[in-house]
């Protein structure tokens, strides 16, 4: 009887772990290949330049960083691709430098065929532990299905990992007994 329980536990563990690995593997692959970012950050909400904001996080007024303008897809490093409102974004885009910001010239400036960044898109005014965010992906429209997809993925992974752990303990003969409760 106990061996039967262990066998069933082992099957449960292998099945649910395999499913969890598939889900994790898919998430990892699509993220690292840029597919997820491209799918999630869907369309341009404003006219401007699509950029990868991570590449110029170190920009300061003293040491500005320069982005090369061109038709890049995917965006690799310090590159910027012009986009119009409603355009599909190039791979690796996670921010848009809007035309309005360029015209203001406070944080970014257009110099010929280059964009000079003096303040990174995500500014954290750090005073102790106080932060002020200024970058809110304002120029980007997210995929309308992302909510359903993300929740389905996270709940499915939760179920897989939960049953996988249950199978693991059963496999080692540590099947937990149900507690009998008495209400008040």
């Amino acid at each position: 009887m106990a061996d039967d329980q262990k066998k069933r536990g082992a099957v449960k563990f292998v099945f649910w772990t395999a499913l969890a690995v598939v889900l994790i593997g898919y998430c990892w692959y699509s993220y690292s290949s840029g597919q997820m970012v491209n799918w999630y950050y869907y369309k341009a909400k404003t006219d401007g330049y699509a950029v990868n904001a991570n590449t110029f996080q170190a920009a300061t007024k003293e040491k500005p960083m320069t982005l090369e303008i061109g038709k890049f897809n995917p965006i690799e490093g310090l590159q910027a691709t012009p986009v119009k409102k409603g355009d599909r974004l190039p791979v690796n885009t996670n921010g848009i430098i809007s035309t309005k910001d360029l015209e203001e010239g406070k944080r970014v400036k257009l110099e010929g065929d280059k964009i000079v960044v003096t303040v990174p898109m995500q500014v954290k005014e750090a005073k102790g532990f106080k932060y002020k965010d200024t970058f809110k992906h304002k120029g980007i429209e997210t995929n309308p299905w992302s909510g359903v997809w993300n929740v389905l993925w996270v709940l499915s992974l939760g179920i897989c990992l939960g049953f996988s752990a249950e199978g693991l303990t059963d496999m080692f003969g540590l099947k937990l007994k149900k507690i009998v409760h008495h209400g008040h």
Binding site: Y41, K130, N150, G158, A165
Partner: protein
């Protein structure tokens, strides 16, 4: 270091795994999502505030499912109670969010929210401490008289009042062994939902005491059933955040990997303890969170001039995670020692169970 392309930052991923692990332990043990601890932690790790909320909410949904699966195996979930509550909770959350928007329009949201947090958490802490101390005393007294206490000991008479309200339909919760008007359950869900929506948290720290002291569920049932509620309400919150572009799924993945181990440990740890032990830890979690919220309130009331108040608020919140993990682990270690007949501190036998 890991490049989070969606969040637009670079941060050490191991910190996310560790946070998931510690909050997983606490959440699996006391039945809370832990949002009030995780969001400040993510901000400290460099995530923007709105991203921190979104990642936190999405990870809570996944983590709650993991813990719910384990609590289901241990018989700690009453599906009738949980499902009857879901409707009320969702309605309450929506009302709470609208209330928050109304307060925002008046320009008093920050102060009102923190005052409300401090009052609710302090009130729950005091009541839980007093009741649990009485229950602890009763177990010790019974043990001296040779009476072996069960897994649950509660001295509050409040649930009896609510269980005697004769408004139909009356539901029978088989696992929790309760017979109660469905309206009481729906109302509890709604009120706790309003608080959760207003305070912007999952609401576990309000719902668990409500399930124990109003509905009359045992602490273990309250923990398991609340995790089911959090999976539902967290899923809804995660969907809204995802649509707004606030979720970086790889950060969620790192946190869930840590939470998977932590939630297993936290959930299984409940097997070793009596109800009052869980209630003690819940109340300590409440008072530590209250101190954090109180410091932030003073910081706001003094015109945000004293930065050290904000700093200590974060330190308290982060310290809370580690303190609670340490406390839960110690309790399990003592419970195992007690089962093997080894020496344990005097206060331990009343809080742990000898046999499954």
């Amino acid at each position: 270091m890991f490049d989070f392309a969606i969040a637009g930052i670079t941060s050490p991923f191991m910190l996310l795994v560790l946070t998931g692990f510690t909050v997983g332990i606490v959440g699996g043990f006391i039945g809370v999502g832990g949002g009030y601890m995780v969001t400040p932690a993510l901000i400290v790790f460099g995530f923007p505030g709105y991203m921190a909320s979104g990642i936190d909410m999405t990870h809570i949904a996944g983590k709650s499912v993991i813990a719910t699966v384990r609590h289901r195996q241990m018989g700690n979930i009453d599906w009738v109670l949980g499902l009857a509550m879901v409707g009320g909770t969702m309605l309450g959350v929506e009302l709470g969010v609208r209330l928050l928007n109304w307060a925002k329009n008046l320009g008093i949201a920050g102060i009102l929210l923190l005052t409300c947090s401090v009052v609710v958490m302090l009130g729950l802490f005091i009541y839980t401490q007093l009741e649990t101390a009485k229950a602890h005393k009763k177990i010790t007294k019974d043990a001296e008289a040779g009476i072996e206490a069960g897994r649950e000991v509660m001295v509050s008479k409040v649930p009896l009042f609510f269980q005697n309200i004769p408004i139909y339909p009356i539901v029978r919760c088989h696992t929790a062994r309760l017979i109660i008007s469905m309206w009481v359950i729906v109302l509890v869900g709604m009120v706790t939902g309003i608080l959760a929506g207003f305070l912007g948290v999952g609401g576990g720290f309000v719902r668990v005491p409500a399930l124990i002291y109003i509905v009359g569920a045992t602490t273990h049932i309250a923990v398991g059933t609340d995790l089911l509620e959090i999976a539902v309400s967290g899923g809804y919150g995660a969907m809204r955040h995802s649509q707004m572009g606030n979720v970086d799924m790889i950060a969620v993945l790192f946190m869930i990997v840590g939470a998977m181990v932590g939630a297993q440990f936290g959930s299984i740890a409940t097997m070793y303890v009596r109800g009052p032990a869980i209630r003690y830890i819940l109340s300590y979690s409440l008072i530590l969170a209250t101190v954090g919220a109180f410091l932030r309130l003073i910081y706001m009331l003094t015109g945000q001039k004293h930065e050290f108040l904000s700093f200590f608020a974060v330190v308290f919140t982060l310290g809370e995670m580690f303190f609670l993990c340490f406390f839960i682990t110690s309790l399990v270690v003592f419970a195992v020692r007690y089962r093997h007949g080894k020496s344990v501190p005097e206060w331990v036998p009343a809080l742990v169970v000898k046999e499954d």
